[in-house]
């Protein structure tokens, strides 16, 4: 049943997912640990007769993507933490103008130049806005090389479906590790009409893409429209996995690569007779708040594990609304929580 698998690194798989989704435009600026992705797109865009631009900066790259989206292409840019900070103004404009695109952040240790080790310190930046103004970006958090491919593919569909930027939040571990990947699969490109694109006004009235709204109340109206769209996304697109949450005394919550370590710790704990479950948010925005709130009714404690000082933990707290205790274990600056460390914490809590 299973198709042929090939060994790929996460960054390459992400690029291939984009190509499969019909991405024909990529602009990026080199930064570790996502360099393989930029190089992969340099190769693949030439092969498929698309556009690859090594931009002069991440700022330029996101604005080239803005232009490509304006012109109707499926477009992508990728970077790692410091570079994604530079893209934030552009992301705000893309969201404001309701332009679909995919942004990939293969996170590294921060703040500042930090290091090139895996980290999850950009959660707030990704899900809370990052740039200026009231806007949201759809955030998907893959936890394997295969998922980097699948979620990137899905991100393009979601971006087009909602005319909104979508972001893949990975980390250096996912980007650089190699795993077997199945390329074949039943993936379907969502075809949407884009009558708003700028193509030249032949046979129609001119189109305008803008985010400046000076008329009395016009910007508030626009914001209301955006919020209504975000509410639809919240109601429709939440994705998460859960394991053993029906009978748990403690539920782990983790996303991305850390979710795999957390899952291993859960299995070890179960083998020892400890009732441990796991919730793994796949969409970080929209966040699986309902799932967690419901789980809160059936468990005593949550343990959130992150490669950060504690960012997603705040959303977990907001979701469970005080119905259960929420604890946290995190490592920062490129430190990776180990199975043993998580086990220790579990045993201390149960």
């Amino acid at each position: 049943m299973a198709g042929k698998k090939i060994l790929m690194c996460g960054n390459d798989a992400c690029g291939e997912g984009a190509v499969m989704a019909g991405c024909t435009f990529y602009a990026g600026y080199p930064i570790t640990p996502q360099n393989e992705l930029t190089a992969y797109m340099a190769k693949r865009m030439v092969e498929i007769n698309g556009t690859f631009i090594q931009a002069e900066s991440e700022t330029a790259a996101i604005n080239m993507v803005f232009g490509a989206a304006v012109a109707g292409a499926r477009a992508m840019t990728s970077s790692s933490s410091p570079g994604v900070s530079l893209k934030q103004e552009g992301i705000s404009y893309l969201a404001a103008c309701e332009l679909p695109c995919v942004i990939v952040n293969i996170q590294r240790g921060g703040p500042g130049l930090g290091n090139i080790a895996p980290a999850q310190g950009d959660y707030f930046q990704s899900v809370k806005g990052g740039g200026h103004g009231d806007y949201k970006v759809i955030v998907l958090a893959p936890s394997s090389v295969q998922e980097l491919l699948e979620h990137t593919f899905t991100a393009f569909n979601l971006a087009d479906k909602y005319r909104n930027p979508a972001l893949i939040l990975g980390d250096g571990l996912l980007g650089q590790m190699m795993e077997p990947v199945e390329l074949e699969g039943r993936r379907q490109i969502l075809k949407v009409e884009k009558p708003w694109t700028l193509t030249g006004c032949k046979g129609r009235a001119p189109n305008v893409i803008k985010s400046l709204l000076l008329g009395d109340g016009a910007l508030e109206e626009h914001n209301k429209k955006l919020q209504a769209k975000y509410n639809t996304i919240k109601a429709t697109e939440v994705r998460a996995q859960s394991f053993n949450i029906a009978d748990s005394d403690l539920i782990l919550v983790a996303y991305g690569s850390v979710a795999r370590t957390a899952k291993a710790a859960m299995s070890k704990a179960r083998a020892k007779g400890l009732k441990v479950g796991l919730v793994r948010p796949i969409t970080l925005w929209p966040f699986p708040a309902k799932l967690l709130e419901e789980a809160a009714g059936r468990t005593k404690k949550f343990l959130v594990v992150e490669m950060s000082a504690g960012q997603m933990v705040e959303d977990v707290m907001l979701s469970v609304k005080g119905k259960a205790e929420v604890d946290f274990y995190g490592r920062m600056g490129g430190g990776i929580p180990t199975e043993e460390e998580i086990m220790e914490k579990i045993e201390a809590l149960i």
């Binding site: 931009a55 002069e56 604005n63 080239m64 232009g67 012109a71 193509t199 030249g200 006004c201 001119p206």
Partner: protein, 249 residues
């Protein structure tokens, strides 16, 4: 009255909307907008033109141009144009930028779009100040010029020298056509139109990057009357920024 209005409308280029602009009395932006529209009409490219409007006084250009227009973040105008042109090489793509947009915050984007030889047209309106934000110093502000942020005049030791962008870009092999023009006299307006037309033609003929710098009046933030502003371009401004072709093919 109605007849008079009709006569005026008949002279409005097809590519221009019948709208009153928000520009101050004596401002050059309206003239440059119109020249672009006349050229677009004469080249018959209205239905394939895509404009990138800047953040600056000209941000509302889409209210005056009757073809496809997108806004860009401040200074990122050439990057946005690059994205559009690469996706739609058969469309005619131009940016319209002020001196803050192009020569300060967007310096990297203009240099690299030029250096890549992007087949786009750039209309660069040099009025020597930041109009939209209240008349602060621009990189192109002349020595001694008083602005909201150079109260006693631009001091070259403190604020550096006014930038000659065309001369900087001229050394790049990807750049095909550069000309500096002005809109301070009827003769100069005609010359500006010829230059803008050549720049669009450069793109139509797939020759590569071209840019027209237009010296333009800003009476409001120069603290001068419209007439004095015209004289200032004729004198001091065109002395420092010589009118003429900087690079051609």
């Amino acid at each position: 009255m109605a007849k008079e209005k009709k006569a005026i409308i008949e002279t409005i280029p097809r590519s221009m909307r019948d709208a009153e602009t928000h520009y101050c009395a004596g401002c050059g932006h309206g003239i440059v907008h119109r020249l672009v529209c006349e050229v677009v009409d004469e080249l018959g490219i209205r239905d394939k033109t895509i404009a990138v409007a800047p953040v600056g006084c000209a941000v509302l250009a889409y209210d005056y141009w009757d073809f496809d227009v997108t806004e860009a973040a401040h200074g990122r105008t050439p990057a946005v144009a690059t994205g559009i042109k690469r996706v739609r090489p058969n469309n005619i793509v131009f940016t319209y930028q002020g001196d803050g947009d192009l020569a300060a915050i967007g310096t990297a984007e203009i240099i690299h779009a030029a250096n890549r030889g992007e087949n786009i047209t750039v209309i660069f309106v040099n009025n020597g100040v930041y109009g939209m934000t209240g008349g602060q110093m621009a990189p192109t502000t002349l020595a001694g010029q008083k602005t909201a942020t150079t109260l006693s005049g631009r001091n070259l030791r403190r604020e550096g020298y006014p930038i000659k962008i065309l001369e900087m870009l001229a050394v790049l092999p990807g750049v095909k056509y550069l000309e500096r023009v002005s809109v301070h006299s009827a003769q100069d307006v005609l010359r500006a139109k010829r230059a803008i037309k050549k720049s669009f033609k450069t793109q139509v003929d797939n020759k590569g990057f071209s840019m027209i710098e237009v010296l333009s009046m800003c009476p409001t933030y120069w603290g001068l009357t419209p007439i004095q502003s015209v004289d200032r371009i004729k004198g001091e401004m065109s002395n420092y920024y010589p009118i003429g072709v900087v690079k051609s093919y």
